[in-house]
């Protein structure tokens, strides 16, 4: 037992003396965080992303919508359903939803087009939506004046929606954490063992009573500590710089992250333990990590994929990791809510570790 801890502690000290390892493990994910954080927090221009749901068949309303989207102020975003639009507004992807009822633009008693439309805004962050409503209101007033002189024909009703105040960044962080766990587990560890096999230091350990199992556990402790440090740093920056809005339990997140790190380290152990040299390790780590990166919802949300692909990719090892983190951070998921994710992770852990221990080679 003491041997395992001394081994892990020696490795940790060694890690902190290696500036390259330090940079790629601690600073590199932060760099990613800053890039993504600035993209998704950004904005600040005067154009608004709006979703328009036009139920009216009248020629007036058709023309109104066409003119609206010609304006630089509005950027029309095509969204399938109203609920989806509300969700997007909750994430800050769009600023407002304009809903045009069927009666809008139908002629009134004076045979003039009239009607009322609804502008939805986010209750918790109303400025953008209300600005949209004001602009549309003044546009419609202008139209009314041209037609009648003074009589107002249209009205705009502002309606709040009560989606939670989560920014795009809050949704992105789960992918970023997933990516950090993936790259540390696979690339870090898969490279370390072959390098040590080449140098001969692993063979020197083999000459002592230190066992394969002790080596694996010691390495897991070492990488677990470094991994949590890296993720902790990312979360600290996310909260303090980008206002990351944590909805769930930090303790649950910590536990979930530890399990996720263990899973991904299993892949690193499998590849690094089996590979005889760095070339084999590099090919294998890329072969494993690239599909995971693109199919597990790290960079692209899985709901953009066709149904059948969503079904398959749901069982990839990184998918439950990214999903689980997002459920905890955005939906305050409980341990019980996470059981499906934990189940998939558990199966993967058993399979990967069994293979890793079986295929491990000292040299």
């Amino acid at each position: 037992m003491r041997a395992i801890f001394i081994y892990a502690w020696t490795c940790i000290k060694r890690f902190f003396r290696d500036p390259v390892a330090l940079f790629f493990t601690l600073a590199f994910p932060l760099l990613f965080l800053f890039v993504f954080g600035s993209i998704f927090r950004g904005g600040g221009d005067v154009s608004f992303n709006v979703a328009i749901f036009n139920q009216s068949k009248s020629s007036f309303s058709q023309e109104f919508v066409t003119n609206l989207t010609k304006e630089k102020t509005f950027k029309k975003v095509d969204i399938g359903s109203f609920d989806e639009a509300k969700e997007k507004m909750g994430r800050g992807e769009i600023d407002s939803i304009i809903s045009i009822p069927t009666e809008f633009g139908q002629p009134n008693q004076q045979q003039l087009p009239s009607g009322k439309l609804d502008v939805y805004y986010k209750e918790s962050n109303p400025q953008a939506g209300q600005t949209v409503a004001t602009i549309i209101n003044s546009t419609l007033t202008g139209v009314s004046q041209k037609i009648t002189g003074q009589q107002p024909l249209f009205s705009v009703e502002q309606k709040p929606t009560t989606t939670s105040n989560l920014t795009q960044f809050d949704y992105t962080i789960s992918g970023l954490l997933g990516f950090a766990i993936l790259s540390m587990g696979i690339f870090g560890l898969a490279n370390q063992f072959p390098a040590e096999k080449k140098a001969g230091s692993l063979r020197r350990l083999q000459a002592t009573p230190f066992t394969k199992g002790q080596l694996v556990i010691g390495t897991l402790i070492y990488y677990g500590v470094i991994g949590l440090l890296s993720l902790g740093l990312m979360l600290t920056v996310a909260v303090s710089v980008f206002g990351f809005d944590m909805r769930g339990s930090w303790l649950l997140l910590l536990g979930f992250l530890i399990i996720s790190i263990m899973l991904m380290l299993g892949f690193g152990l499998l590849i690094g333990g089996w590979a005889k040299n760095e070339n084999q390790a590099a090919v294998l780590s890329n072969a494993v990590s690239f599909p995971l990166m693109f199919l597990s919802g790290v960079f692209f949300p899985r709901y953009l994929m066709p149904e059948w692909l969503q079904g398959i990719t749901g069982y990839l090892p990184l998918t439950p990791v990214v999903d689980g983190i997002r459920y905890i951070t955005t939906e305050n998921a409980s341990l019980i809510d996470l059981l499906p994710q934990l189940g998939i992770i558990a199966v993967w852990i058993i399979v990967i570790y069994a293979l890793a221990i079986k295929l491990f080679r000292w040299s």
């Binding site: 020696t10 060694r14 003396r17 040590e196 063979r203």
Partner: protein, 252 residues
């Protein structure tokens, strides 16, 4: 003296190439036993099978009464190994390395004391990559002594060292022998074998072609009527070199 190692019919096969062909020999407790032979003779493979680092294909090795093939873990506890291509973790100080190695044996050691035995006490805070060739080999021996082994294996300990460093290492090996530790070493240097080894085995293409004390081997050769073609010189170039550069050990 009792036999601490007894090797019987030891064989290693890679595909259809047999690199060690059923060799047998014994090593007595407390002696320095040398294995000589050209590259590819099977010295290192033989050593690694005895050290439980390589599976034994046929034959048996008993070390201090323990069957190596059946109890490799027990063997690791009572032997110390200096590998030919020995490497240590970079960016880990000598002191930290020794503490770590001792912990693998479930032991606590005084790293400075161990380093002092190989005259590296002042390097306790250095990283192994900063050491000279001779210092590296001495540190390697220190790391093989953390568990107070019964048998110490040294695979070509002086290859690549300059004459001073080599002589320094010979002194160290003699000191280790004095402590009652059995030493098994391989070498290419006849002078080294003659000076250090109580007995030696000469290997060629996987078999032992001669085994005895250096004195007896020479006697046997002379008995066969061998004569050196030239008169033996009173000194050779190595003596000149050592005399000029100083016998005092300059490294460390």
């Amino acid at each position: 003296m009792k036999d601490i190692i007894s090797v019987k019919g030891l064989t290693k096969q890679y595909g259809n190439v047999t690199t060690v062909k059923g060799i047998s020999f014994t090593v007595k407790e407390g002696e320095v036993f040398g294995i000589l032979g050209p590259n590819g003779a099977g010295k290192t493979t033989t050593l690694e099978m005895i050290e439980a680092l390589r599976p034994i294909d046929a034959g048996s090795v008993m070390l201090d009464g323990i069957d190596v093939a059946r109890h490799p873990q027990k063997i690791r506890h009572i032997i110390g190994i200096q590998l030919q291509s020995s490497a240590f973790y970079d960016k880990v100080t000598l002191k930290e390395q020794l503490i770590m190695f001792a912990s693998f044996y479930g032991k606590r050691v005084d790293p400075i004391e161990l380093l002092a035995q190989v005259e590296l006490a002042d390097k306790a805070g250095s990283y192994p990559e900063k050491l000279s060739g001779g210092q590296k080999q001495r540190f390697s021996i220190a790391s093989a002594l953390v568990n107070e082994p019964r048998v110490l294996f040294l695979d070509e300990p002086t290859t690549g060292l300059d004459p001073q460093a080599r002589r320094h290492l010979w002194d160290l090996i003699r000191a280790i022998k004095k402590r009652g530790i059995t030493v098994v070493l391989t070498t290419h240097y006849m002078e080294e074998a003659q000076l250090l080894c109580d007995r030696l085995a000469i290997m060629d293409s996987g078999t032992i072609i001669a085994m005895d004390s250096p004195k007896n081997l020479i006697k046997q050769l002379l008995g066969r009527g061998f004569k050196k073609p030239e008169v033996i010189e009173q000194a050779d170039l190595e003596d000149v070199y050592i005399d000029l550069t100083g016998k005092a050990l300059r490294e460390g």
